[in-house]
């Protein structure tokens, strides 16, 4: 099987890789590029642990082929903090104890960031529906929702 050459941008960095035609973007990120922040919880697009953005759109990277990343801009959890400065969502997740085991956290943060980019002032219900594709088994979502709403309020105040 011949490999496909892909040129893309990940978290602002130019990246090139060779991938198999059937290899997912998630596998490329994790196994080829060493970016293991995106997690595989199901491989079928049901859990959201592998959430990334492709050209600003929130997707499950397990449902995107590595080859499809050609010419796009990918955003992952590794690009969320600016140097040492955490994104407000990241900070609020720690402050609100919005993670227990932390396996779903990268996907939820990427999804929540996408929510706030689309809707800076979401209601609790809008937040719950936006994040309905991200499974968390530890928290019951209570502290996650509070952290997102609190981060949204802070970000609105700062802007």
């Amino acid at each position: 099987m011949s490999k496909i050459h892909v040129t893309t941008k990940i978290n602002g960095d130019p990246v090139e890789y060779l991938c198999e035609p059937d290899e997912t973007l998630l596998d490329v990120l994790r196994d080829k590029l060493g970016m293991t922040g995106s997690k595989e919880g199901c491989g079928t697009g049901d859990c959201g642990a592998c959430s990334v953005t492709v050209n600003g759109r929130l997707v499950c990277s397990c449902l995107v082929l590595g080859a499809e990343a050609e010419g796009t801009e990918i955003g992952t959890i590794e690009g969320m903090a600016q140097g040492e400065a955490l994104h407000p969502l990241q900070q609020k997740f720690i402050e609100h104890a919005a993670l227990q085991c932390g396996i779903c956290t990268p996907g939820i943060l990427v999804a929540a960031k996408s929510l706030l980019e689309n809707n800076p002032d979401p209601t609790e219900e809008e937040t719950r529906y936006w994040l309905a594709g991200n499974l968390c088994r530890c928290t019951g979502y209570d502290k996650i929702i509070r952290a997102v709403l609190d981060a949204a309020a802070d970000m609105r105040e700062a802007s």
């Binding site: 199901c42 499974l135 929702i145």
Partner: protein, 750 residues
Amino acid sequence: MALDSKTSNEAIQFKVVGTRPLRPDGIDKVTGRARFGADISAPGMLTGLVLRSPHAHAKIKSIDVSAAEAMEGVHAVVTRRDFPSLEPGSGTGDVLDNCMAGEKVLYDGHAVAAVAASSTHIARKALRAIKVEYERLDHVTDVDEAIKPGAPVLHPGRANESVPEGSSPNIMARYEFGHGDIEAGLAQADRVLERSYKTEATHQGYIEPHACLAQMGPDGQADLWCCTQGHYMVRNTCAEILGLAQGQLRVTASEIGGGFGGKTTVFLEPVALMLAKKSARPVKMVMSRSEVLRATGPTASSSVDVRIGMTKEGIITGAFAELRYQGGAYPGSPVDMGSMSAFAPYDLEHVKTVGWDIVTNRPKQAAYRAPGAPMAAFAVESAIDELAKGFGLDPLEVRLKNAAREGTRASYGPTYPAIGLEATLRKAKDHPHWSAPLGPNQGRGVACGFWFNFGGDTCVSLNVTPDGTVTVSEGNPDIGGSRASMSMMAAEELGIPYEKVRTIVADTGSLGQNEVTDGSRVTFAVGLATIKAARAAKAEMCKRAAMVWGIDAEAVEWKDGAAHPAGPNAGTHPPMTLAEIAAIASNTGGPIAGHCEANPEGAGVSFATHMVDTEVDPETGAVKILRYTVFQDAGKAVHPAYVEGQFQGGATQGIGWALNEEYIYGEDGILQNAGFLDYRIPVASDLPMIDTVILEIPNPGHPYGVRGVGETSIVPPLAAIANAVSEAAGVRMTDLPMSPPKVLKSIQNS
């Protein structure tokens, strides 16, 4: 030296314990840096994959691996033949048989062979090249069907001596608990309710699939990295299965992406080690979600009959339950703990439970958060609710009238010390939730729950660094913030800021034996060992200060993070802080440390009361959770945010169990919903906020009064929700899950 030996936390003025500091692994986990089971690799690493049975029950007539072995890029193929033989029927023998089938496959998804290859692509091709010849056998996946005459038999002759002669050969054990004369008790009742209840198997549903990386040299030294609730258990089990010396196998626990009991055993680890041995290369194995659901432990499904007698004043005069749990393909369902916990919340003169451990052609069950208790509580708490409402009595008041308290002889034997059940019930009665109005098609339910909590083997090593900071090494994977709690207890005891302590989870080469992270034991037992290790370090630091001051060590006391002279002959030396003592440790006898190795008793049982409002759509049968409040005794909440998190998480798993989640088997014995689309766990839009009320009735068995909190929270929800749905729908729900078709059918039939 003088130490605070008080055992009641009312007397302790906590400075760190009870606050909400940031967890030490927080930044790693919000930035994607934390390394979970599948997040590590090694040079020259191979990919390991498992071939699994497509049949529910079959004899393995032959396995031909020659074509797979001959493939380019394939470095090892293993089957059961590669493993040393263990005594069949022994605990570890069953674990091995579950990791790699021997003569028979016992369930859909049972492992039969594994390969290690240079790429995933080649490994998949190699699996397809393995030829297994099966002779299919009849199968049974239902607990009640499994004990009918003529049912397919999984393990002829495996029943233990507790099972009466003539019983079904699929019954592996019988348990009985209780006291008094049950028939005499029931005779005193104004009404005796007889009811049967069923629950379906549910999976722990951790988002991280099982994963490991194994290496083994020809000298028998091996290293294993894996996501587990107990790497010491992994070490001991793998060493026994592979015939290795325990000391030669070093296991490092990765960050763990959820466990809930499901990661208290091994699945991939012995296979990965065997593949690594045969290939002489590092081997990484990661399960798919479908493999997790088909082949790792769900909890037992249950079928429970209850007989409870009650007077019209609400006094329970006698209580009996017969519990049948199927634990999948091997003995060991948690029916013993279900039978012990069923009536544990009540003070009963006449009580009896009988439990039957039954095998079926399903995956071997694994512990799931308070294993065995939620199903028993579902039956008992539903029956009590029905009786109370039948007499027009307040269900909280009825529970208060019968509640176990200090001095009550528990239905499973022991006499309780101070416990918190009454406190949770009173708090629930006084809470605004209890008196809030309900709308049409809405109902409110309450239920109580109990869990034992455990202690177990525990080692902690606390080291004081030369600059006066402190490291704590413990041996239990941190599943929900326990490193923060350990750092807090060490800081509290030493009198230094939380930020001066860093806790790590050490590998199996660094500490003695540690029991698995289970039984809600870590904050209790590891916390206790951390406090004792800190006390040992304080005693040593007092000795060093005494040496500097030229006085007796007994004339030195530790307070506020420093050694102080105390007593009439101690003199007037200025206090020496921990940092000052640490800085000169090299000149006063060498490095300073404290450690504790213990198997602490006194874990302290835990009780909760849950209250829930539901709305039932009479046209579809769909149930919406409107409001939920958890009242639970934590003994002492070390980090209240993570205690709340345990309450909320347990309640939510209970909501899934009550409303959506179930293992669905076809007539062919094949699991039909092995994915998160069809095995649907609660999502954010299904739920309201989960309110929590933490009660603190100190556990006399812990220096700070701590009780385990992790498991009790999943015990009451099944019944609390069933009671609420029954009220909302106007019909008693006795089968879980209360999925829309089932609720609709019940409404239509009523």
